[in-house]
Amino acid sequence: MTAAARTAWYTGTVVEARPETSSARRIVIDVPDWPGNDAGQHLDVRLTAPDGYQAQRSYSIASAGAGTRIELAVDELPDGEVSPFLVEDVAVGDKLELHGPLGGYFVWMPQSVTHDTRPVQLIAGGSGVVPFLAMVRAHADAADPTPFRLLYAVRQPDDVFYRQELAKLAADGLQIDYVYSRTAPHDWPVPAGRITKEALAGFAIPASDKPRVYICGSTGFVELIAGWLIELGHDAGDIRTERFGGK
C-alpha cells in the first residue's frame, strides 16, 4: 500500500492540540492529500519565520494506514527549537509544512503483507513509544495474529504517553510491561529504578523465539538496550533501532 507512496511536501491544518504529558502535546493534523503511511514512519515539520529563517525536525507519526488525519505526539526539549513551538504555541487552525511519509527501515507491516510470523518485541524509552502506537494500532486494525509485546520505560507515571489507549489495548490482550526509573505508582510491586539487563531479560520475548525487535528512544537508551539484547542472544539483524539523539 503505502510502500509505494512517494514522499512529498504537504500543507496540513492543525485540527486538535491537547496536552499529552506535562511536557508533551498530541497534535492531530488534517492533510487533504496525504497518501497514507506505514506504521513506524516519520515526517519532518518545517517552520518558517517572517525573515525567512527555517527550522526543521523529524517526528514519528502515531497514526498509520490510509486517511488524511495524521497524529503526532511531540515532547518538548528544553533547548529545542521546533518542539517548544509545537508544544506551546501551535494552535488549532494553524497550518504546518510537512515532508513525508518518510522511512521504510523502521516500519511494521501486517503478516498478510510480510508473511513473517515471528513475534514482535517493541521497546520504548519515553517519547520513543510514538511509532509503536502506530504499530499497535495497525496490528489491532488488521486483526493481525502476530504476538506483540511492548516494554515501555519512563521516569514516572505521568510521563506515559497514550496511557488510556495503552490501558485499553492491554485489557484487550496486548502485553505491556512498564519500567519506572524515578517514581513508580503507589501499588507498584517493584521500587523505581533504572532498567537493568535482568529486567529486560524478564520482560522481553526470549531470543530463542527469534522475535523481531524494535527499539526507540534516546541514543543512550537504545544503545544500552541493543547491547544487552545481543548479549542475551538476539541477532543484531533482528533488531531495528530509532534513536533521536541525546543521552
Binding site: T11, L47, T48, Y53, F85, K95, L96, E97
Partner: protein, 197 residues
C-alpha cells in the same frame, strides 16, 4: 512553497554589524561533528609536520607548547550560520611551528585524530593568522570542542579549524579535505560567503 508559520520567529537571534553576511551571533558554543569524538590523552598526543618531500618533524605535547603560547581574542564563524564574537583563546602560532622548515609548497592539509582533514593555503596559516589552540574561554578545550588541541584559523569558516588536529602536510596542490570533497568551498572566506562549491 514555504509559507511563514504563524507565531514562529526562531531562536532569539541577535544582529551585530561585526557579523559577516548570513551569520547570526550566538552566546553558547554549538557542537557539530562528523563522527565520534576521539579521546586522546596528552601523554599519547603528538603533532607532525610533513613537507612536500616527505620530511617529517614531530613534537610531543610539552614540546609543542614550549614553542610559546600566546593569548588571542577573535571572532569565529561557522558555515552553519552561527558566529561567536570576542572569544578568548590560547595557543601556539603556526608561524612558530613552521619556522625553520624549508618548503616550496603553497598549500597545507591539516589532519586530525579520527581521520578528519581540511585544506588551507599555506600563506593563510602564517603571519599571525593561525594557531594550534589548547584553551578557549579560559579553560582547556574539552574533547567535544576539539580538545586536547585544535587548529584555529578564525579568518576562514570554522570547519577549517580542524578539531583534534595532529599534523600538517605541506602540498603543492590545493587538494580538498573532508568537507571540501563533500560540497563545501575550497577556500571558505566568510566575508565573501564562500560556503559551497
Amino acid at each position: 512553497m514555504s509559507f511563514i508559520t504563524r507565531g514562529f520567529s526562531g531562536r532569539n537571534r541577535e544582529r551585530d554589524p561585526r557579523l559577516p553576511p548570513g551569520q547570526t551571533k550566538v552566546e553558547d558554543w554549538p557542537v557539530l561533528s562528523a563522527g565520534p569524538t576521539p579521546k586522546i590523552d596528552t601523554a599519547d598526543w603528538s603533532f607532525t609536520v610533513t613537507t612536500e618531500t616527505g620530511a617529517q618533524t614531530h613534537w610531543s605535547w610539552d614540546e609543542l607548547r614550549a614553542l610559546g603560547i600566546e593569548d588571542i581574542t577573535t571572532d569565529i564563524h561557522c558555515v552553519t550560520h552561527w558566529s561567536k564574537l570576542e572569544m578568548p583563546w590560547r595557543g601556539v602560532p603556526i608561524d612558530k611551528i613552521l619556522a625553520g622548515i624549508p618548503t616550496h609548497a603553497k598549500y597545507v592539509m591539516a589532519h586530525s585524530y579520527g581521520g578528519y582533514t581540511t585544506n588551507v593555503p599555506l600563506d593563510e596559516l602564517l603571519n599571525g593568522q593561525a594557531w594550534v589552540a589548547f584553551e578557549a574561554e579560559g579553560v582547556p578545550l574539552d574533547p567535544e570542542h576539539g580538545g586536547p588541541a585544535r587548529l584555529l584559523v578564525p579568518h576562514l569558516y570554522f570547519w577549517k579549524s580542524a578539531k583534534w588536529v595532529n599534523g600538517l602536510t605541506l602540498m603543492d596542490k590545493d587538494d580538498p579535505g573532508f568537507w571540501e570533497q563533500a560540497g563545501y568551498n575550497l577556500h571558505g572566506d566568510p566575508w565573501k560567503e564562500e560556503r559551497y562549491w
